[in-house]
């Protein structure tokens, strides 16, 4: 489950062909958008989590995911000179390329934990494979982010287990969250237009390969360990990352309000 290391490494963006550079830039933006939007949803719990300790824990996770978004957008800046803050705060909903899974309202604690578990598992597998990317700046970022992601996964896997095996109410809520989130999960493994070229050049992992590993891990935890009922198959991914639910625009309106109120601010 790693990108082949047979390919010569590319450490400089100048060595990438223009069309490869454009495809990689789009991929980095999609990766960053997932992290940015999910981080914002997690941050909505700050001050509202069930207990103080978990309030701090989820704020930590949100900050880590925001940090990953920043790492990806800095890689994109190296490719095309774009400003990460402009991308985060001055794009509208139809320009964001996050998965719909990330933008759904935070729901209850079970919903937030199940979503985070599904996403953390995907992210940890993606980063693990991306550590051997032929594009060395991405390989370095993946190695750095993977350390945090493995810890997130332990945290959310533990919570899903405790909720699923807890009280009747916590079990009901956890199953309801899984039923609602499951149809959104396949989009995590839907390649971007042009992504096959990046995979062929060993720049990014093959999502098709990751999907099988992800499903095996997720099923074994949710059904095997937590006793939840997991649907037989993942429904189709649906439309691409340019299509969003009605929930993204209000999220962006809040997330971007300060930056847009003072668009010429030099320091945050």
């Amino acid at each position: 489950m790693t990108v082949s290391s047979q390919q010569p490494e590319t450490s400089r963006q100048q060595d990438l062909a223009p069309e490869v550079r454009a495809a990689l830039s789009a991929k980095l933006t999609a990766l960053a958008d997932d992290e940015l939007i999910l981080a914002h949803r997690d941050s909505e719990w700050t001050g509202h989590a069930p207990i103080l300790e978990e309030d701090i824990a989820l704020a930590n996770i949100a900050q880590d995911e925001l940090g990953h978004a920043s790492l990806y957008l800095e890689l994109r800046r190296e490719l095309d000179g774009s400003d990460p803050d402009r991308l985060a705060f001055f794009r509208d909903a139809d320009e964001f390329t996050n998965v719909r899974l990330a933008e759904l309202p935070k729901g209850d604690w079970a919903f937030t934990m199940v979503r985070q578990f599904l996403f953390d598992t995907y992210e940890a597998l993606w980063l693990e494979a991306a550590r051997t990317s032929a594009y060395t700046p991405l390989a370095e970022v993946a190695a750095k982010a993977l350390r945090e992601e493995k810890f997130h996964l332990q945290h959310t896997a533990l919570w899903v287990e405790r909720l699923a095996l807890g009280t009747e109410e916590s079990r009901r809520r956890t199953q309801a969250a899984l039923d609602e989130l499951w149809p959104y999960a396949a989009q995590l493994f839907q390649p971007l237009p042009g992504e096959e070229g990046l995979v062929a050049a060993h720049l990014v992992p093959d999502l098709g390969q990751l999907r099988g590993v992800w499903e095996g891990f997720v099923r074994s935890h949710l059904a095997g360990k937590c006793g939840l009922s997991v649907p037989e198959a993942l429904p189709a991914a649906g439309p691409g990352r340019d299509t969003h639910t009605e929930h993204l625009a209000p999220l962006l309106a809040e997330m971007q309000s300060v930056a847009r109120a003072v668009p010429n601010a030099e320091v945050w």
Partner: protein
């Protein structure tokens, strides 16, 4: 030692005291506590609350009910604490030795073989008569982070890369401590403090 009387029942999860080791060969230090439903949850929560930064290499958590603590004043008033019964075995001993530190409360200084928590406390007092507080707990009550490379890498390594500033960097509200120093208005340090 004394439970504060509360008019409403306490619905919180049990409290766990968290001991953090900053580097190999340093003592584990009590840094605070977390509420958690079980041992693994206590460790995960402790990591989030106490190890985001700066660096650490190991965390222990001990359920509040497994701790016995006393000050010299408390022992003078209630010497029967030294008779507190419990399981025999290895007990960890922690000491509070100064009022001057913030962030950490107690350093773990070693272990004793004791017939119970009261006996462990008695031995702690004999070995360290000048301590301001003694704390003991049985080895069997400790839950620890794993020491494998994977755990060190995902639980503790990320904190090393993050910006960390000591409390004093932030100074007091309205005035940065550096400004006060430059203006010669910083209160003097007590002599035992060492470096000026």
């Amino acid at each position: 030692m004394t439970q504060p009387h509360s008019p409403r029942p306490d619905t919180q999860w049990p409290r766990w005291e968290v001991f953090k080791q900053d580097a190999p060969n340093r003592p584990h230090q009590a840094v605070g506590s977390v509420h958690a439903g079980d041992p693994q949850h206590a460790l995960l929560t402790a990591r989030n609350v106490f190890v985001r930064r700066p660096a650490a290499v190991s965390l222990w958590a001990v359920r509040e009910a497994d701790l016995l603590t006393a000050t010299p004043e408390e022992l003078a008033a209630r010497p029967e604490v030294l008779e507190t019964p419990g399981e025999a075995g290895t007990y960890h001993v922690g000491l509070k030795r100064t009022h001057k530190r913030s962030m950490t409360f107690v350093d773990l200084v070693g272990t004793v073989e004791a017939s119970g928590p009261g006996d462990a406390l008695r031995q702690a007092r004999e070995g360290h008569p000048d301590a301001l507080t003694w704390l003991v707990f049985p080895e069997s009550a400790v839950v620890r982070t794993d020491e494998d490379p994977g755990t060190l890498e995902s639980w503790f390594a990320p904190a090393k890369d993050k910006t960390y500033k000591q409390q004093q960097f932030y100074g007091v509200i309205g005035k940065h401590v550096g400004e006060l120093k430059r203006e010669g208005r910083m209160p003097g340090r007590a002599k035992e403090g060492g470096q000026p």
